[in-house]
Subunit: 261 residues, 2 copies
């Protein structure tokens, strides 16, 4: 742990009034000085979106009884950018995002506003963690999530984070006593098989709702995040933002070698 009280930025994608962020704020208060900047409304599925074609407002709020607490009219990534650019007096020691109401395992990491906020902090060199509980209910029980959020955050505050990475933590919907512990995992190869549900408006014109089924195609056994949460473990996946597929560089070199001048 840093010598002085750690400065911890808390954000999320479910919006500043969600029970998940309240649970995370309560836990982080035990570890350091907390600053909250979160979207003013739900932003699930916004991924790494930023607001560049419209303006942003930021308002002081008092939902969580924290001295520095703000609601922002943008995305989770906007919140992190605003925190670093305008609000925080110094670089925080940790940025935590969540606790998300719902899973962010596997491919969900690329759609998730929760995880995009954590990734954005990592881009700026701040140790960061996204927490998600596999329970979308407004009445979800966050107590096991809080226990493990504290354990993992303390560890990160003590040991730091590997450069240019952050953590994607998913917590199964279980009581603390049922959880078997923490499992370090890779992201499973799974995706969503989409179906757009067609409905008709009163004038008879079609509109669509995005829906779908999560399908795990991974042949791995006990090393993926999907496996971990199914088997009552907390999954912890180190996430990076260098998207270069290094193994493809050399084959591409060969393919395109004739096409270079």
């Amino acid at each position: 742990m840093p010598a002085k009280k750690p400065l911890i930025l808390v954000t999320n994608d479910d919006g500043i009034t969600s029970p998940g962020i309240s649970a995370l704020v309560e836990t982080m208060k035990e570890l350091g000085e907390v600053v909250v900047i979160a979207p003013d409304k739900p932003q699930s599925g916004v991924g790494h979106a930023i607001t560049i074609n419209s303006t942003i407002r930021i308002y002081r709020t008092k939902y969580h009884g924290v001295e520095q607490e703000y609601s922002l009219t943008g995305t989770p990534v906007d919140c992190v950018k605003m925190a670093f650019s305008k609000v925080l007096k110094r670089k925080p020691d940790l940025c935590v995002s969540g606790i998300n109401h719902g899973s962010n395992i596997s491919i969900n990491v690329i759609y998730s506003g929760t995880m995009s906020a954590a990734v954005e902090a990592a881009v700026d060199g701040i140790p960061s963690i996204g927490f998600s509980l596999l329970d979308t209910s407004i009445d979800a029980d966050f107590s096991a999530s809080q226990y493990y959020a504290k354990v993992i955050s303390k560890q990160v505050l003590t040991s730091g984070m590997q450069k240019d990475t952050c953590l994607n933590v998913n917590i199964p919907k279980l009581n603390l006593s049922e959880i078997k512990g923490i499992k370090i995992c890779r992201q499973a190869r799974a995706n969503w098989v989409e179906e757009f549900e067609e409905r008709k408006d009163p004038a008879g014109n079609p509109y669509y709702w995005l829906t779908g089924k999560f399908v795990d195609y991974d042949k791995g056994k006990n090393d993926t995040d999907v496996w971990a949460v199914k088997n009552n473990y907390i999954s912890v996946v180190p996430v990076m933002f260098d998207l270069t597929a290094y193994s493809a560089l050399s084959p591409l070199e060969k393919q395109f070698s004739k096409k270079k001048k």
Copy 2:
């Protein structure tokens, strides 16, 4: 090239009326049967956002003289999902996104709607490419971009793509004769140093515009996309969506080993 006429899905993030997508559609017509599904308005910076809290409409249009051409009230990723789920009769042989009006080198890949559409297609197992020209002007000259979009797309149609990857192609703002060729690169370690510009509304309350400066922190020499476009090359970066930082797995195992039950 496939035996039958290749089916090519074209999308973008600047919206269906942008000159960049017109240029790409023209080029793809020379390579196969083209289907266009693009956002009805600019979606720059939306990253991998999907529309889950509101509905989506899709309209047939005739901007580009293509039989199957649609404008969609959502994000670039929504367009790809809708194409695969509702519009296309079979899996396309290629998905191309762009040509973006502006750079998507380095860290921009995570904010880019153009690249997120390509990544989404890759998640569904479709060879895909995002094209971006380093010129934001409405009057940008896309002729060199078209030349290289054809070269690269033909190569991908012929050789396919490494599993679970797509290509991020950036074209410098130059005449065809000034471009030195194609350079296979990694994503440079660069980011945006943000400054939110504060303004006051007529009532005297503050609002903000996101702005910033792109800073290249990379110590690499001639192997990054930033280097390539600065040195008059087309940069081609293979991009993946497995965000697992594999090199961090083992150190994390050690850190958390005491914390497992």
